[in-house]
């Protein structure tokens, strides 16, 4: 082997360091007022979910037929009562737990699996690419709502199965984005240069490909969270997700639908929560996208 000269000077102690790419992204993101507002709302919602036992004024499962469908502002029931006379405020607070778990979890799982598949397909090319991408295309042929409903129908109702179904729904789009970005990055000269240094595929992917692919795919994945929240609520609404008497926003929307003419405001509350959470995720994702959209 060619000797790499032994007696080299020690690394100079003072080297001017530029802030890394991600710190630049977060600096820019922190200047985006809208994104920061969305982030604040999301933090509050997550805190609400975590601290539910301390925040909820009443037992969310305790039904009192006398207090069915009380309007908003009833003393003791600040947000009214549901169709079984349970405290709406407490149910909304507790509902955030399952709604978040069910809506958010599939996205990071799909992000990891989809990125692995997409980067593999994009870097390997050829036959492996064809196999992975055509399989993804099969899933793509169905509208995401239909696919989610069909999959959780096939798997059977339940929280876990609904999450698995949503994960499967989101893997193909993540794979496709990851594959597209990888194919583009792979053809860049710095990847070629890395190949000329004799590095193996795993090392090139880890150091040269992934860091440049993860950003765009990550932004795309964050934009999926809002869709996932809505799909998760939809599955519960259809009875394919969480089962009564659990508190979950989508399920609450379903059980309250009969009250839409008697207490429209109360019936709309879970929907409003879903809307706020979903749009906050979406706004944050948009902010992240523009914060990352710089030549760097």
């Amino acid at each position: 082997m060619v000797s790499l000269s032994p007696a080299l000077p020690a690394v100079p102690t003072v080297v001017a360091r530029s802030p890394g790419y991600w710190s630049g992204v977060f600096t820019r993101l922190s200047r985006d007022k809208l994104a920061m507002a969305a982030l604040a709302i999301l933090v509050l919602i997550v805190l609400m979910a975590i601290l539910a036992p301390y925040l909820a004024p009443a037992d969310p499962a305790k039904a009192t037929m006398l207090r069915r469908l009380k309007p908003i502002g009833t003393p003791g029931y600040p947000l009214g009562g549901d169709e079984l006379g349970r405290d709406m405020l407490s149910r909304l607070i507790y509902g955030s737990r399952l709604s978040l778990i069910m809506g958010v979890t599939p996205v990071p799982v799909a992000f990891v699996i989809g990125t692995i598949l997409g980067v593999t397909a994009g870097y390997a090319g050829g036959f492996l690419n064809t196999v992975i991408m055509r399989t993804a295309d099969v899933f793509f042929a169905f509208p995401s709502v239909l696919l989610a409903v069909a999959l959780s129908g096939a798997l059977g109702a339940g929280l876990l199965n609904a999450m698995v179904a949503l994960t499967i729904v989101f893997i193909p789009p993540v794979t496709r984005i990851a594959e597209a970005v990888t194919t583009q990055v792979r053809s860049l000269d710095y990847v070629e240069a890395a190949r000329t240094s004799g590095a193996g595929a795993a090392k090139i992917i880890r150091i040269h490909v992934l860091p440049n692919v993860l950003g765009p795919v990550f932004v795309y994945a964050t934009s999926l969270i809002s869709v996932s929240m809505i799909l998760a609520a939809g599955l519960s609404f259809l009875g394919l997700g969480v089962r009564p008497p659990e508190a979950e926003w989508g399920l609450m929307l379903n059980t309250l639908r009969t009250a839409i003419y008697t207490q429209p405001m109360v019936a709309a509350l879970p929907g409003i929560m879903i809307f706020i959470t979903s749009i906050s995720f979406n706004t944050l994702s948009d902010g992240l996208r523009s914060a990352m959209d710089v030549k760097a």
Partner: protein
Amino acid sequence: MTGPLSPASTRNAESVWPPEVWRAPKKTVLDPRDRGGPAQPLLSVTGLVKHFKVGGSPFGEGTVVRAVDGVDFDLIKGETLGIVGESGCGKSTTARLLMQLMPPDAGRLVFDGEELGGALSLTEYRRQVQMVFQDSYASLNPRLTIEDSIAFGPQVHGLPARQAIARAHDLLDRVGLEPARFAGRFPHELSGGQRQRINIARALAMNPRLVILDEAVSALDKSVEAQVLNLLMDLKQEFNLTYIFISHDLNVVRFMVDRVLVMYLGKVAELGGRDAVFNQPAHPYTAALLASMPSMDPDHRVERPPLTGDPPNPINPPPGCRFHPRCAVAEAVCSVKEPEMAATGTDRAGARHAAACLMRAAGSGHSRAPAVAVPA
């Protein structure tokens, strides 16, 4: 070790080195990696071919682009070989084939007496042959700091991270960039000239014997180009390098190289010493290429274009001599007979001068062909 990387140097690329000190490379330096002595070519290329299929489906026939269609040459140790030609002539594909970035359809590469794929492994070959690309920005990973980019190669080959970084700093210094200022920066914070210096440092980090410069200065501003050319000449001496210098700019090529290889539509049109090729081009295409250079003299502007039409597409190269449709001295035989490389003499330095033109081949049937072949 008396290798090229000793820690003492603090010389900076902008420092002045009196021209009288500098001599064209006539090297007697002993390279411990040298195997066959100075007479053995560093790289011997035989029958290199690369065809691309375009537009075809896995089932149907596409058209075939004959990007590189039988290229042979020997690279002499310590020389700078220029490769020139127009777009589509196959010079960049040749570079990528030499670098093994794509598999050739045919051809042998023999590096210092050892055949690639035989006695010489690809890993070992790649340690000795490095490349600098044209686009200084695209050839640096935007997420890596400069020192990490340079240190990547040595680390792949097992140098511990700390030493690899120290080596990167040393090389930054050699290419005229202060390590303390630049090592921790990212590519987008630097100018084109600085980035190209880093790409050169990255290539040198592998301690190669051959560096392929593929349009390495073409994207730089003129004032910066001169700096980088000086740097390349210094580094060649210092690191005992052999260069393949690919460029469309004939002025730069004339300045940089010892020998020139002219390519036309995937084939070698002419190969010879710099002065021979530039002063007495043997192939009509080379002559036209040289005459197309702007004159730089306001009183003697170019009055007539030496060639008409655009460089043809390598999809359907014309039969016979590929240059004959654009050639002013083409005869009937040129559209039938494909010319072989024929010797036209040797220059003062002893370099063989040859051209693939029927006018140079004895008994080819061209009215200007010599009666007797020039001895090679």
